[in-house]
């Protein structure tokens, strides 16, 4: 079939499918602890993307792997840029973590290329929020208000996630009388930098105008061997710059990607580009801190993208299962399909909840919540993949047809695992914090009133994102075991108290692994333990935001558009995923070779916790299925 005919067929199928699809509110919107998502501009942007003409146009562009410029222009006309820079009529009311994440979730629910092309603005501008002077900030804001899109230039093809090995450089210098750049020594005044080298795998590298670049400004020689890099020393070799596109910056060819096929993932070659020293953001040689703080914040945004993607997949699976009746009744009445739909409903709420909780923590504590943004990024992307796979079981062969929209979610959802830090990198970080937490419990420091803490976090007014980044922020890590115990004491049917015991047993297992030496020796065990820890953190978010009773006990308004499924689903979720964690701990202990008796004293044994989590689940499952079909 000729390509144009294939595209036409795609459009026909999508049009038929999308026009009857009543999306309703997403899990992210329903569970949001405040009204940020009801902002009129956000709603207008959503309504624009949902018009049939725009839907068809988006899918056509995607099928042809074309950058979605006309769609972006339509969004700009409707106030898109007021979410990234203060606007004359709204001020900075929309430049908040909640508005930016609401936008991410809404866009990713509809089209990943559009979503990631827009979300990179949040990512790139964080580096300016972190480090720009008031004068720089004003100039950047003016460009953003005028519609300029931004890109963050971190990656280099040969160095992947090892930023300290990056080679693209900015050399200090000045201009001679003829206006030619000449180098200066480190202790001499610098008026200009000369930039050379390539940045690659950059979102928006060919299309976006404001370039925020992480560049080497010291030790140009002697940094080629990754094994020789000393992290403390090498982090002072980089600076952050903001650069406008100019002729000496050559675009590199666009990559053809499996996910987000319309997005501009490409690179740039700096060929002796000379920029004024006023383009330096923050301190000279302070770029690593700016980059790391940028990633801390942006990881919360990745969770909102993953949430939107999964909600889009869930919309289609639910819609399909309620109307497909190949055996007489709709297939959602079949046990196996209902089971997949239940898991999909849990995962949709779970990923939304972890995104929302993290956004609330960012809104309250800025970069002090690196633990939670790391957890959110890694576990949201992982559970979003799992959810889309559950939906695939519902749609069967339809999920594999590129002429049917579900296939887009299949190919797009894998993107989030590699955004802003790979899964391995995230779990490596998390395993370090897990080890700290396992020891903190032993030191008896776990008596904080965590419920009051979270009540204050959720009640905090939504604030502009740049206000969160300029000062210093205390590092926030709640004692998870204690917090789950307190949540378990609140009214509610879900067996949340057992999760506190599960956390104690995970910490005991980690201490056992440390004591017998495998923790340090076996990275794969550390990463598996970190995944279990992240699952417990995700369940905590779920309980706070999606468990009807405990949500109320934390002082939050009921979820929008209450559904019969909400109450029994909380029990189902805690039981299902809580037992996944207990099984994981058991397996970890076996693989680590822990001697019997490693379990924590003074708390129920793993087998007792499993029994508590499983209690009454047959009735819960039945209630969930009835609510699902009803």
């Amino acid at each position: 079939m000729p390509h144009s005919t294939a595209v036409s067929r795609t459009r026909d199928v999508n049009a038929q499918h999308l026009e009857v699809l009543d999306r309703g509110l997403s899990a992210w919107q329903r569970l949001c602890p405040n009204d940020a998502w009801r902002d009129p501009v956000l709603l207008e942007l959503e309504a624009y993307l949902d018009t049939p003409e725009v839907q068809r146009h988006m899918w056509d562009l995607e099928a042809e792997e074309v950058y979605p410029r006309p769609i972006l222009d339509g969004l700009r006309e409707r106030g898109l840029m007021s979410i990234f820079a203060p606007a004359p009529e709204s001020g900075d009311a929309r430049v908040t973590p909640f508005h930016q994440c609401a936008l991410n979730a809404a866009n990713a629910r509809r089209n990943t290329s559009v979503a990631v092309t827009i979300s990179v603005n949040s990512l790139a501008l964080i580096s300016a929020y972190v480090s720009a002077t008031p004068e720089q900030f004003e100039k950047i804001n003016a460009r953003v208000q005028a519609g300029a899109f931004s890109s963050l230039l971190l990656s280099e093809l040969n160095h992947g996630s090892n930023l300290l090995a990056n080679q693209c450089r900015a050399e200090r210098g000045t201009l001679d009388e003829a206006g030619e750049w000449i180098p200066v020594e480190d202790d001499e005044p610098c008026t200009h930098y000369r930039i050379s080298g390539e940045k690659d795998l950059i979102n928006g590298a060919n299309e976006h105008d404001l370039l925020f670049a992480f560049l080497r400004t010291r030790n140009f020689e002697g940094s080629q061997d990754p094994k020789a890099i000393q992290p403390l020393k090498a982090r002072a070799d980089f600076s952050m710059f903001w650069i406008e596109r100019q002729p000496s910056i050559q675009p590199l060819p666009r990559w053809r990607t499996l996910p987000a096929q319309g997005a501009d993932i490409s690179g740039l070659d700096f060929n002796g580009t000379v920029v004024e020293a006023s383009r330096l953001l923050g301190r000279e040689h302070g770029g690593m801190t700016v980059a790391q703080k940028t990633l801390i914040l942006s990881r919360g945004g990745v969770a909102s993208l993953a949430s939107g993607c999964l909600s889009g997949a869930r919309d289609m699976a639910v819609f399909y299962a309620a109307r497909r009746a190949i055996y007489g009744d709709p297939i959602h009445t079949l046990g196996a399909i209902a089971d997949s739909l239940l898991k999909l409903e849990v995962l949709d709420r779970l990923v939304s909840a972890i995104s929302l909780r993290t956004t609330a923590l960012i809104n309250a504590y800025g970069v002090g919540v690196s633990h939670y943004t790391g957890v959110a990024k890694v576990i949201a992307s992982g559970f979003a993949e799992e959810g889309v796979t559950e939906g695939k079981k519902v749609l069967g062969a339809r999920a594999l047809l590129r002429d049917f929209p579900y296939a887009r979610y299949m190919q797009d959802v894998v993107l989030y695992a590699v955004f802003d830090g790979t899964t391995h990198l995230m779990y490596q970080e998390l395993s370090h914090r897990l080890s700290q937490e396992a020891r903190r419990v032993l030191k008896g420091a776990a008596s904080d009133d965590t419920l009051s803490f979270m009540r204050e976090v959720y009640a905090k007014p939504v604030v502009p994102v740049y206000g969160l980044l300029s000062g210093k922020n205390p590092r926030v890590v709640l004692p998870l075991e204690r917090h789950l115990e307190l949540l378990g004491d609140l009214p509610g049917a879900a067996p949340v108290g057992a999760l506190s015991g599960v956390t104690s047993q995970l910490f005991a297992c980690v201490r056992g692994c440390e004591d017998n030496g495998v923790w340090k020796a076996e990275q794969h065990l550390r990463l598996r333990a970190a995944e279990l820890y992240a699952t417990l953190e995700a369940l905590t978010a779920f309980v706070e935001l999606a468990d009807v009773d405990r949500r109320a006990a934390l002082g939050l308004a009921p979820a929008a558009e209450a559904r019969a499924l909400d109450r029994p689903l909380a029990s189902y979720a805690v039981s299902w995923l809580g037992r996944r964690v207990t099984a994981g701990i058991r397996e970890l202990a076996l693989d680590a070779g822990l001697a019997s008796g490693w379990e924590a004293p003074g708390v129920p044994a793993l087998s007792e916790l499993e029994a508590t989590l499983a209690e009454g689940q047959a009735a819960v499952r039945q209630a969930c299925r009835e609510a699902l079909v009803g």
């Binding site: 930023l163 403390l232 002072a236 040689h285 790391q292 690196s370 210093k472 590092r475």
Partner: protein, 77 residues
Amino acid sequence: MTPAEEKTLEILSNVCNVPREKLVPEARLIQDLDIDSVVTLDLLMELEESLEIDIPEVKAAEMQTVGDVLAYVREHA
């Protein structure tokens, strides 16, 4: 030892997950305490926040041992 130095050792112990008794002045941050780039950011942020000091990256880059960190804190806190 000043209160700021005491606080520094407490932060090093918590962030690096190392018992206090191992934090001798000659202990090397990378080789002995296993500090990587992520831990470094946590450590710098925590020291700056708790002690209300500023630690530029170029100064942090010169710190090789626990003693170097304590000396910086002694001078600036």
